[in-house]
Symmetry: C2
Subunit: 639 residues, 2 copies
Amino acid sequence: MKAVANAVGLKQTALRDHFWTPYQELVTGTVLPYQEKILNDEIPEAEKSHALANFRIAAGMEEGEFYGMVFQDSDVAKWLEAAAYSLSVHPDAELERRVDEVISIVEKAQQPDGYLDTYFIIKEPEHRWKNLLEGHELYCMGHMMEAAAAYYEATGKTSLLGVAERMTDQIASVFGEGKRFGIPGHEEVEVGLMRMYAVTGQEKYRDLAAYFVNARGTRPEFYVQERDARDFQVFGMDPNERDYNQTYAPVREQTEARGHAVRAVYLYRAMADVAAALGDESLYRACKVLWNDIVTKKMYVTGAIGACGNLESFSKAYDLPPDRAYAETCAQVGMVFWAKSMLDIEARGEYADVMELCLYNSTISGMQLDGKHFFYVNPLEVNPGFSGEIFGMRHVLPERPGWYQCACCPPNLARMILSLGKYCWSESADTIYAHLMIGQKASLSLADIEVESAYPWEGSVSYKVTPKKDASFTLAIHIPGYVGAKDLNVTCSGERQKPAIKDGYLYLNRTWEAGDEVSLQFPLKVRRLYASARVLAAAGQTALMRGPIVYCFEGVDNGGQLQALALPRSAQIRTVKETEGILKGCVSLAMTGLRDEDEEALYRDEPPACREAALKAIPYCLWGNRGLNQMRVWIREQR
Amino acid sequence: MKAVANAVGLKQTALRDHFWTPYQELVTGTVLPYQEKILNDEIPEAEKSHALANFRIAAGMEEGEFYGMVFQDSDVAKWLEAAAYSLSVHPDAELERRVDEVISIVEKAQQPDGYLDTYFIIKEPEHRWKNLLEGHELYCMGHMMEAAAAYYEATGKTSLLGVAERMTDQIASVFGEGKRFGIPGHEEVEVGLMRMYAVTGQEKYRDLAAYFVNARGTRPEFYVQERDARDFQVFGMDPNERDYNQTYAPVREQTEARGHAVRAVYLYRAMADVAAALGDESLYRACKVLWNDIVTKKMYVTGAIGACGNLESFSKAYDLPPDRAYAETCAQVGMVFWAKSMLDIEARGEYADVMELCLYNSTISGMQLDGKHFFYVNPLEVNPGFSGEIFGMRHVLPERPGWYQCACCPPNLARMILSLGKYCWSESADTIYAHLMIGQKASLSLADIEVESAYPWEGSVSYKVTPKKDASFTLAIHIPGYVGAKDLNVTCSGERQKPAIKDGYLYLNRTWEAGDEVSLQFPLKVRRLYASARVLAAAGQTALMRGPIVYCFEGVDNGGQLQALALPRSAQIRTVKETEGILKGCVSLAMTGLRDEDEEALYRDEPPACREAALKAIPYCLWGNRGLNQMRVWIREQR
């Protein structure tokens, strides 16, 4: 097996997109500075972070106790990674100075042997590497590796890369073939090692990543051995919870996505990256089986995954309750990352479709437009008074809270949004793959490409190509799965092309001339989605999509009691270009539906009176920006 | 305030009803003997009970340790009570001999000062009366009082009554005005004391019951004081969980049914009984407010209450999820008891309607027709593969398990079914109130009445009246709330009467002649019930009823995937008299509905294909008697 293409560096792209550029500006202008203040405990109304203080204490720069989650270090690492991307897309000498300052603290906190985890350095030095199940050392270090690779790519500076290299050497000195047996409880170090491999080319990092991937789920069981050998008390998961951390079987034998959804997709991404790097067909095959299990049985219509409110985990196939969803922001971010790794192996439209679905819906739904409030959980239905309060839905908040202690999601969103350029392209010796229709200038090996895009509100995208050395290559453009071949109008410098679509990609193979412009036009019809009857909670209901955008109904637009609404199958749905308020620039949907009158009587034997009602649906990603109110994606359909 | 009527003793009635007599025979023939064996640990495949062994150990008759729940004694008490009713309805010298044997063990276990709780006698004698919050001493003793009253009424024997009198004297010596402040964590002793008052006429029992009722929810808070004074560790509820045990306010100020549903309705029944005995208007007013809160906001269409799967409690108003219901059998049994106490105060149809609804649906649904498997939880929807397995529905079992350790529900059902005669009548100096249409011979103070009933399958009931001393009195017959006045045909000895209905009761005031026969005829139409739009989970759906019977759809009759079914609003529903199998004798419903085809694809943009499907609905109380399969009460309605 040979991966079809390589990843493209973030610095090769410069986004200029009417949809995404404002998100990037929100992150660079608000989210990152806000998070930086949080890490420094400078936001009094936010929950105490202490994350940077932990590093300073570990570095001997100040006195104090460790405070925070055992994985508090990862907040700093994820901020560093996002800041690195920020510097890539938006150079800022002052930010770079502050990042260097943080890096110098991190450097000082690192132990002489390369070990770096402030919880264990400060609090339990004697328990280093003795609680891989819940200790999160490898998780935190994995994030630091990702940050190091990103910062090196952004600035060429090797300070943090050096930290990461010493850290990886420390890990490699302890774990691996012929050394200690061990696997991380929360997968992430595998991804970090593969990023280190990508920027340094050192095969030892790739091989250690492969070791961790391949050791997972083997017998005898590591976590059981670890527990039996441990001479101190720990809290957390039972080592026998084999689903939770994906140890129920060796990874190649796993056929179902189970357990903690974020851990799972981080593992699957690493599996794909290792498979690509080593040409490991059986590992890629396992990825495909797991991918298939998720997208055909365990994914919400918004792209969200991990339905179960207990243990943040995948539920059983087809259990996709809209009002009890877990659907953690981080899980969808991980899905985007994994999808891109799959695309680097094989350009298949299904991967790009899922990546797009998550990007435009269930990832960014995690963030308020003020950049200061975030959802951990992304439900498809909230009912104030019940959501967040009733047993079984206490985790489903009807409004985004402020920064919280377990702050994994906000920085994860920040790094995804800022590194979006990386997810737009893959490139091989003779082919450029364009996965997303996002406006930008990209400087690739084969060509410079300028993308103008009216997506996702209109089906209109153009690619202006300026070839570099060899003008003969293929441009492969992902065509979203919902676009019918006969609806697609392709021109190249004004000349109508006959689309040759294979596996969701339009292949244009020609000798390019500077200024050649490929233009795609396709209608964005409003689609009604229907779930399989096996999805209990969606029976008799429909969800609305247009392009990649999933819509939802909010109380503020529809007068409350959304459960009393129905949409006739025959109802025409009109698109409305919004011109004001938080919806400005986006397309909302207007339609005439039906509303059951509210009756106070708990039960009666007369059917409820019903009247016509003007209904409005807005993009799901924007819900919850206009105060506390009801929301639902699925609406009853009246045939 | 004066209660309208007195209760009627069980021995005054002899049921001979085509619906209920088989249930009584099932209980006398199977449930009670089976439970007796369980209490004696003679059923190897059942969970160990040890309940009688605990009494023998406490009595010094054998060596051993206490085993079981802290309230294990109540299993013996409830069995004794049910056995007493059994002897009332079906004399059996051999059973009576065995009951006397058990009573003699109970007598021996009782301490010289009257105290009787085997857990504390055997295990923690030093903690007697020190953990009223969770210790369940008063709960267990309350049940023993009910048993004692029942056995005395059944046999005239005073053995157990003596135990109960010494027990109540012990309680009265410790608690009450001018003595120790205290209230039971699980209400029940109040009811037990009121039963003692009923059979002995001793006001001290009534007054102690009133003390416990009135002390509840007062400040300073008893449970907090108790905890602060306690010098040992206990497990269980936080005393600050004031909703859980109905201490959030003094009982007269409580306006919402909150907390543990069984505890709540036991309290409310006691409040009604105390209100009736003392003519306490404010207490009855509080009962009415709480009644209203439940029946207008917190009751399932089956009559079930206590929707919340956490802490077996009432949920918020209108939160009535069919698939996550708790709806404990005991809570509905308690609702029947409370309804009867309310009826003894005021003959209002709404009380009798709810009593009937619970009796014919959500109480007996708790028992398999083999008499050996029982539901604790009575959901309105089960989906095998999800119910009992998914987070938030682990408590919702799709099949009745065998006897279980916390065996409160089976004996509660047994005593309700055997004492049903008591719930049929109230009587005042000049009026007989007939609450239920159950075939029987009743020997009341004013008259003997022979009831012939085709209910609940047909709307046809007759009352043959033989007056006693004074032939001039009123017969007041409850007319179910769903019967329209114009649909009711009443004859008295063949002569058409003009129905005079007030508050749900038909009042027939005349001078009766021996053999006068009142005959009621009314059509039992199939009704479609609709829930308020505020009940999120029932929006767009309908439930079927005929007479007092709620219907449900089971997979075995309807080909599975019940969520894919819809019932057109225009569909005719036919009644079918069943002649075979477990449904024999009952009326099922047949109709032509619609079924969405199963599609494997998780999502698609074509509406599901739909075809006509023959549907069958069976009485809800009979579900789960034909193997593991799907069930639902609410079905999507197609307009």
